[in-house]
Structures are given as structure tokens and as C-alpha cells.
Amino acid sequence: MRITDRRFALYLMAPAALFLAVFVAYPLFSLVADSFFEISPVLGGPREFVGLDNYVQAFTSQAFVGAGWRTLAYTLLVVTLEFALGLGMALLFTLLGRKSQTWRTVFLYPLMIAPIVAGLLWKFLMIDNFGLLGALLHQVGLLRDPNQIGWLSNPDIVLFSVAIPDIWLTTSFMCLVLFAGLQNIPGELIEAARLDGARAPAMLFKIILPLLRPVIAVALVVRGVDAARAFDSILIQTNGGPQSASETMSLLIYNTMIRFGEPGLASAMGTIYLIAMLGIAFVAVGTIWRPGKDS
């Protein structure tokens, strides 16, 4: 018997769907379930149903609210700087035209570096005493003392410092996506604007950026979601310190779970974090991607 197309399509999708159901949906389900329990950190230890207690505890905890704001600040900082630098590079490559191709390739290499390696590398550059960054700034006369800026030890600026590896790693991604977008601006349009006497700033703000809008929106959302999950590079640089000043949401949840051994509370935090991310995702998906529909 010949199976219908519809059924055939289902068979093709079933293994992947099953995989995601078992290894993503089920763990998420147990995360949400755990959030209503007070759980002993020992494997197989007692669990007691506590209703919304963990949620109350999360929302009233300074650490949680602080981590929420820090995650937001970190995300905005990373995405803004990355976008500005990435757009600058993309425009530079476009202005230079095809001769810049080799350099575009070179510009991509950080994308392949593990975030943990990037975090390590920048920690090495910014660390007190033998960090190169302070020494160089001192040598060119910008700092009186190489250790004047405690990149990773000053709570006021540490959130900025831990963002640097992330920005360094992924500016190329932003550049790449924007560059691809710039390629598709019809040359005639630029030509016409030029004949009309548009100068560079007008060209950028009135013509190029509006045409790039869909690409920009997608790039910002993708990077925003990733930045909001930052973990590796921050963990290796500061482990959230000093005084929790660089503790973002992923780190807080990880620490609550592993270091403080409170799976129930960590699950509640994870659930809230997840809902926030999904909420943003749904809005973004609805307004930007519209998958399944052509254009």
C-alpha cells in the first residue's frame, strides 16, 4: 500500500521531533516540576512540595533581581557595541569592494574560537600586575600606573570588562550578516541617490540603514538571545565576582544549583528566565521571521 505524502512527511520528521521531545521538552518539563519542590541536593534525597515558595524566594532575593538587571545590561552593552563595530566593519569592507575579500576571511577567525578560550585570553590581557592591556596603556601615557584600572577586580566596571571577549568574538558575526545584507542593496538605488547629491551621512541613515532593516532586526535578535545566555567567558574570567558584580542569570542559576545546592530554587529561577527568553523569542519570531511563509 502506498502511503500518503502527508504521512511520509510525518515519518521523515518523527525522529527529530521525538529527539527534541525527549531531550528538550522533557527536561524542561522536569525543570518546571522541580520548581515547586524543596529538594535535597543529594541524589535521590527527599523532596517536599512547597508550591510557589521558590518563586517568592527568587523574586525577593537581591541576587536574583540583581542578576536579572545585570543580564539585561550585559546584553544591551554587548549587542550595541557589537552592532556599531560590526556595521562599521561591514561598511568598510563594502566601500573597499572585492579587493578586501582576503581580509574579510581573516576577520572571521574569532568565530571559531571557543568562548572559554576567549575568556581566558582576555583575562590574561586584563589581569592585574602582568596584564598587557594595563601595561600598554601605561606605556602610551594614558595611565599613571599599569594597575590603575582594576579591569576584573573593580565591581563598578567588571561587567564591562567581562563583556569584552564576547564583543571581540562575535563582532565578526554581526559584520558578516550586515555585509551580506549590504551586498543586496541594488546598485542602481545607490547610484540614483548619488546623482541626487546625497552625502555620506544621508546615504547611510536615509537609504542604507532603512533597506537593511530586516537584516538588522534578525541579527540583533539572534545575538541578543545568545548574549543573554552568556556563561563560559564570564565564568572563566571572574566566576561572577567581585561581589557578584558580574553574576549574570546563567551563572546565578548554575551557582544556586551546584554551589549552594538548592535545585528547587534554581529550577524556579530557571523557569522564570526561560519564560522571559521564550516571551522575547515569540515576539521576535512573530514579527521578524514568519517561517513557512515566503517573504
Binding site: M13, F23, L31, L43, M89, L108, W168, I258, G292
Partner: protein
């Protein structure tokens, strides 16, 4: 004339039968369209090149410094004030790092995990993406949306339940368990990438094959898969990289037997004080093969990256 930085034309070419979607418009390997934007004055161009050179030096320097540091003597590594070039070039750090217990094993673990995860991703994503793009059923539309939503799930949220699932089926601390965890990350992206590649295959191809007596599965296997082999390669590279560089799941799900190199690098900090020399050497060992691979396959990777970004 150069085309946009995309993959081979056959992968993404617009075909009869599939309307170009927004992504197609972004990536269509047309001739350089924004040519009107190219700077024409000689002095302006010289200035722009100078700007590019400065940006490249600033951008490339950190990793270069890591490489240089890895060749310094351990004492030189933490010299105050720091030097850029090694006084004496030595392989000491490499010998120290690679000679440490568990380091070589971790590189093998990383490779195993990444290979298993890549295969798993492809085996699941290729048929699924084909089912979604070829038949356009409502369930396919729902499924690809669900896959996209999966990308938004923070790993820290599913890491712990996943780890306890694995230990309850006796897979704790194995490369297979970690590979499964990594596949939760790479599968959604792989589905989106493959869907974009299938989108570009003309349906007439399979129709002709079915007329010639191929079954639907036979047509997929013998006709469609060879056409999208370039796309499969791109997807494989991405799945491999995602696993190779991943840290959080690896931290949560591995102990001694299956530890991957990123976890070992992080552990260097606590276990051996701050042995910067060995850390930089191991970081270099871990990064360099991937960078070489990237440079060799850059055209394909650029295409995949842009697709991945735009789709999910």
C-alpha cells in the same frame, strides 16, 4: 568580479519551483550589487585601507599574543611588565600541558563527542528538513517553529535535568550523553540550515526520478541528497563546531572519564594555580585546527553562518 561571500552557486541557486524567500534575497549569489557603494576616489581608498589595517591589527592581536605567550618560558609568561615577544622561544608549555594527566584524553573525548553529535544531528535533521520543505504540511510548519523556539532555551535550564536523565539510564559521564546534549543545540540549527538548502532544489528533479521508477525514499537518497551534499557539509561543520566549543553542558555532564578540553582548560585555573603558560598552550592547540579548517572551508562556512543567523 567577485560574488557575494556565499557558497557554491548550486547550493543556493534560485530554482524554478521554489519562490525566493527573504533569505534567498539576502543570500542569492548575485554579482556584487552594492557596487555603487565602493569608494572611488584614490585618496579616500588609501584612507580606508589604512583604517582597515589598524582594525585588523587591533582585532588580530589578542589571539596572536596568546600564541606568542604559549612559546614563552613559564616564568616569562607572568613577567612584570609583560613582554610581547618571547625572550627565549620554547615548547616547554606545550610539553607541560599535553603531558598532564587527562589532557590528551580530553582532546580525544572532545573529538569523539563532536563526531557523534555531528552524525546524530545530520541523521535527524536531513530527513526532517526534507519532510518540512518538500511537503509543506501544517505539521511541518509547526515543527520548524518548535525547532526555532528550542534555540531560545538557555542551556542552564535543561542541563541539570538532562544530566540526571542520563545518569538514570546509565550513560553518566560518557561521550554519548554529552553528544546528545550537544545535539539539542545543533539539531534546531541543522534543521533550519538543511531546510534552506532543500528549498533550493527543484522539485522536477525528484518528479523525474519517481517517473523513472524510484520510490520517494529512493529519490531522496539517490537524487536529492547528492544535490545538497554541499549543504550537508556546511551543516556538519556547524554541528561539529557547536560541540567542539561548548562548555556548560560539558561542565555539568562530564566528570573524569569523558571530560572535554574546554572543561580541562577551565580546571587548569583551580587545580594548578594560575599556570598561564600551559593554559595558553592548550588553548592554542585546541583552537588552531579549527581555525585552519575554517580558513580552508571559508566560503562554505560563510554561507552557513549567514543562513544560520538569518534563520535561527
Amino acid at each position: 568580479m567577485t560574488t557575494a561571500p556565499t557558497t557554491q552557486r548550486s547550493d543556493l541557486r534560485d530554482s524554478r519551483g521554489s519562490r525566493p524567500n527573504r533569505l534567498g534575497n539576502i543570500l542569492k549569489p548575485r554579482r556584487y550589487q552594492a557596487e555603487g557603494l565602493e569608494a572611488s576616489k584614490r585618496s579616500t581608498r588609501a584612507l580606508l585601507w589604512a583604517l582597515l589595517a589598524v582594525a585588523m591589527v587591533l582585532y588580530g592581536f589578542p589571539f596572536l599574543y596568546l600564541l606568542l605567550t604559549s612559546f614563552k618560558t613559564p616564568l616569562d609568561t607572568i613577567a612584570v611588565p609583560p613582554t610581547i615577544l618571547p625572550d627565549t622561544w620554547t615548547l616547554e608549555n606545550y610539553i607541560n600541558a599535553l603531558g598532564r594527566d587527562g589532557v590528551l584524553a580530553s582532546i580525544i573525548n572532545s573529538t569523539q563527542t563532536a563526531v557523534i553529535s555531528t552524525i546524530l544531528s545530520l541523521v535527524l535533521a536531513v530527513p526532517a528538513a526534507y519532510g518540512i520543505t518538500r511537503y509543506k504540511t501544517p505539521s511541518g510548519r509547526v515543527f520548524i517553529m518548535a525547532a526555532l523556539v528550542t534555540r531560545m532555551v538557555p542551556p542552564v535550564a535543561i542541563g541539570i535535568p538532562l544530566a540526571s536523565m542520563m545518569s538514570s539510564v546509565g550513560l553518566a559521564d560518557t561521550p554519548i550523553a554529552l553528544a546528545i546534549a550537544h545535539t539539542t543545540i545543533s539539531l534546531p540549527l541543522s534543521i533550519w540550515l538543511m531546510a534552506s538548502f532543500f528549498e533550493a532544489v527543484p522539485q522536477e528533479l525528484e518528479e523525474a526520478a519517481t517517473v523513472d521508477g524510484c520510490s520517494r525514499l529512493g529519490a531522496l537518497w539517490r537524487v536529492v541528497i547528492p544535490v545538497v551534499s554541499g549543504g550537508i557539509a556546511v551543516t556538519a561543520i556547524f554541528a561539529f563546531l557547536a560541540s567542539w566549543n561548548e562548555f556548560l553542558f560539558a561542565l555539568l555532564m562530564t566528570a573524569i572519564r569523558s571530560q572535554t578540553t574546554p572543561v580541562v582548560i577551565a580546571n587548569f585555573q583551580t587545580q594548578f594555580g594560575l599556570d598561564w603558560g600551559s593554559m595558553t598552550a592548550l588553548a592554542a592547540v585546541y583552537s588552531v585546527p579549527v581555525i585552519i579548517l575554517t580558513l580552508l572551508l571559508q566560503r562554505k562556512i560563510v554561507a552557513g553562518m549567514t543562513l544560520g543567523a538569518v534563520k535561527g
